[in-house]
């Protein structure tokens, strides 16, 4: 018999792991609580550092899950241990006898309105990174009205203990630099400012992107966290920050402010996690067996984790994590259910 593997969350990690496990000969059931698959990637326009199309990347991920049983609009309503397996009841009435469960529940975008001082939802021209991607996809947003002065605020809901988010979200610096360049492409006469605390541009090609933002797009990087935003009489924004390099407080009027909302642990992921007895760390992300040697295995046997469910990750990191999880699950199932082994070998010989 084939082992059943249940994967919760059809974002990039869930899609990639589904494809890999399907190929390894398992019976994969992929569930997604929203109406569409693709997660945050489905709402993004272009990807750093090289500006690849997000929808093209998603399309090829979706191509890979051919044959996977995928249920959208579906949540886990209850889950019990049943011997070495899990008995999982889904909201669509289907009961899955899963020999392994993979959590690819991803992240939530930080709710920018929680940072009240930035006035998201109050001032006319304050948007988030996600809003800007939607603008790039759709080409219109009433808040973006041919702006000539644009600001990006890094670390909104990241490195902010008072907002309950101590950790760095990892991807926002690179996203801000990417979006800053894109805004200069969209509005060639604009002046773009990036307000950062530290620039964390660690990946391959990232430094090139940063240099290009400075040299080719004239983006001004100001080291200092935006502390307060207000609205001027003409509807433009007044921003207060410190230029910490110049050691002086600073103000500037802007026509558009983009808040780089960070990654937060997924709320619905946490709900499933508690059904399955998963542990979280103080930062809200799921605990893994070992952060270095065993980063895809949870502390519960048969329960695996991949992607941003275990902390902020870039897209390539998420995909690599998903592939690694597939290998770990294969290893676990082969040992735990040796009787299924012959069938798998048969399957693989047939490729």
């Amino acid at each position: 018999m084939k082992n059943n593997v249940l994967i919760a969350g059809a974002g990039p990690a869930g899609l990639e792991a589904s494809a890999a496990l399907q190929r390894l000969g398992y019976n994969v059931i992929l569930i997604e609580r929203s109406e569409t698959i693709g997660g945050h990637l489905a709402r993004w326009d272009r990807l750093f550092p090289d500006g690849e199309s997000a929808s093209a990347a998603l399309d090829s991920l979706i191509e890979g899950i051919w044959g996977v049983k995928c249920f959208t609009d579906t949540e886990i309503t209850s889950a019990n241990r049943l011997g070495k397996s899990f008995n999982v009841i889904l909201s669509n009435g289907i009961i899955v006898h899963a020999d392994a469960v993979l959590m690819t529940t991803g992240f939530d975008l930080f709710e920018a309105s929680k940072k009240e001082e930035y006035g998201y939802g109050i001032y006319d021209h304050v948007i988030t990174n996600a809003d800007l991607e939607a603008f790039f996809r759709n080409g219109s947003d009433p808040r973006i009205n041919n702006p000539s002065r644009i600001g990006f605020v890094h670390c909104v809901g990241s490195r902010d203990e008072k907002a309950g988010c101590r950790s760095c979200s990892k991807v926002c610096c690179a996203t801000a630099v990417k979006q800053a360049c894109e805004m200069r492409q969209a509005f060639p006469n604009s002046q773009v400012y990036c307000f950062y605390m530290d620039l964390r541009l660690f990946g391959r090609h990232y430094e090139d992107m940063y240099l290009s933002a400075q040299r080719d797009y004239g983006v001004r990087f100001i080291r200092g966290r935006v502390a307060e935003v207000s609205e001027n009489l003409d509807g433009s924004l007044m921003i207060k920050a410190e230029d910490t390099v110049a050691s002086a407080p600073l103000k500037v009027s802007l026509d558009l402010l983009v808040l780089m909302a960070g990654m937060r642990p997924s709320v619905s992921g946490a709900r499933i996690g508690s059904l399955l007895g998963l542990q979280s760390e103080d930062d809200g992300y799921f605990r893994v067996m070992d952060g270095i040697l065993d980063a895809q295995r949870s502390t519960v046997p048969g329960l695996f984790l991949a992607g941003a469910a275990t902390g902020p990750k870039t897209l390539p990191e998420t995909l690599a994590d998903a592939r690694a999880a597939a290998v770990e699950i294969d290893k676990y199932l082969s040992v735990t259910f040796p009787e299924a082994k012959d069938f798998k070998q048969l399957m693989r010989k047939g490729w």
């Binding site: 309105s113 009240e116 001082e117 006035g119 939802g121 109050i122 001032y123 006319d124 307060e228 207000s230 609205e231 001027n232 009489l233 007044m238």
Partner: protein, 354 residues
């Protein structure tokens, strides 16, 4: 500006304000700065609204003025406060309302300190008993007097003789609201509407027909601060902060300013003269400044009290432009008469500002 966005934040910061039975404590300085404000508060709450607001001559300062000037340590201020709470308990009250923002902030700070360090609260309770023979107690609810006027704003609106509306044009008056820093900046959840977009005064303005002006430096401190005015050389700091606020609100042409702190209305009123003297600039119409009021004074005007009974003659900036706009009748010859017609004498009026 998206009004619904503000409403959402306001709905998240609604503190519980009991309707009646309060122990009232006054401010150290408001009675000399704005002599009728506290009396007006008691007049409105007791006589017009029929509330039980108890006051005893045994209460003192909260100690905040000395605490914030580094003259006394926190424990001393806490003991003074414990005595105030002890008096409240002795007279059978559990709701506490204070007139001063500095006090309000210090009360919140003290209660939070006692919550986090119960051993300190026990020590203060011990000192309180040894020194005053009063029982240590904490108020069940602590509110600022502006919270209470906010709470009654619709009842006051229902009895209004005048509204914050220009009777000549029918347009709402443009009102700047200025919140004392220690009202909610230290503990956002203790203030109506939170710290970034406080609603306590905005709610009164809306209920009484005015239009709230939200200008870029709205959140900025008036620059008051005890250490800034105690020492003459530091007063430029206070003045410069007020100047920054007026420069920022100028393009909105506000008709008036409402405040809920002892210091802010005083300095926003008096510094306008100093700014006019130094720069020749006035921010109101025709050489006038922008009149600055306490919320009790405005509530009094709305309810139809005589401006001179509300003590508006003690303001640097004459209130007349606002009175004229609101259609309030007043007798200019009575302006400098005090209680029971006592002649206060004509002040020397500067030529640079009205």
């Amino acid at each position: 500006m998206i009004y619904e966005g503000k409403q959402k934040i306001w709905s998240e910061y609604q503190k519980e304000i009991p309707d009646d039975h309060y122990f009232y404590v006054r401010s150290c300085i408001r009675q000399s700065f704005f002599p009728a404000s506290e009396a007006t508060f008691l007049e409105i709450t007791r006589n017009r609204l029929g509330k039980d607001i108890f006051e005893t001559e045994h209460h003192t300062t909260c100690g905040g003025i000395a605490y914030h000037s580094d003259a006394i340590p926190q424990e001393t201020a806490m003991t003074i406060i414990a005595r105030q709470f002890g008096l409240m308990h002795k007279y059978g009250y559990e709701n506490y309302v204070c007139s001063c923002i500095t006090s309000f902030g210090l009360y919140c700070e003290t209660l939070e300190t006692w919550r986090q360090f119960p051993e300190l609260a026990a020590k203060i309770a011990d000192i309180l008993w040894k020194t005053c023979k009063l029982e240590f107690a904490k108020p069940r609810f602590i509110v600022h007097a502006s919270d209470l006027i906010y709470h009654y704003r619709n009842e006051i609106a229902a009895m209004a003789r005048h509204r914050l509306v220009n009777v000549h044009t029918g347009e709402p008056l443009k009102v700047v609201e200025h919140i004392g820093c220690h009202y909610s900046k230290m503990f956002p959840s203790k203030g109506v509407g939170g710290a970034e977009y406080p609603y306590v005064l905005a709610g009164m303005i809306e209920a009484w027909g005015g239009q709230v002006v939200d200008y870029p430096e709205r959140r900025h401190c008036c620059g008051f601060g005890f250490r800034q005015y105690f020492i003459k050389a530091n007063r430029g700091y206070s003045l410069s902060n007020t100047y920054k606020k007026f420069e920022s609100m100028e393009p909105y042409h506000p008709d008036m300013i409402i405040t809920n702190c002892p210091g802010c209305p005083y300095f926003m009123d008096r510094w306008q003269y100093v700014i006019a003297e130094e720069t020749g600039k006035t921010y109101g119409e025709n050489g006038h400044g922008i009149p600055v009021f306490t919320y009790e004074e405005v509530a009094g005007l709305v309810l139809g009290y005589d401006p001179w009974d509300l003590g508006l003659q003690t303001h640097q900036i004459g209130p007349e432009p606002v009175l004229d706009k609101m259609g309030i009748k007043y007798d200019p010859s009575r302006k400098y008469l005090g209680l029971k017609g006592k002649d206060l004498g004509m002040p020397v009026c500067p030529g640079c500002i009205k």
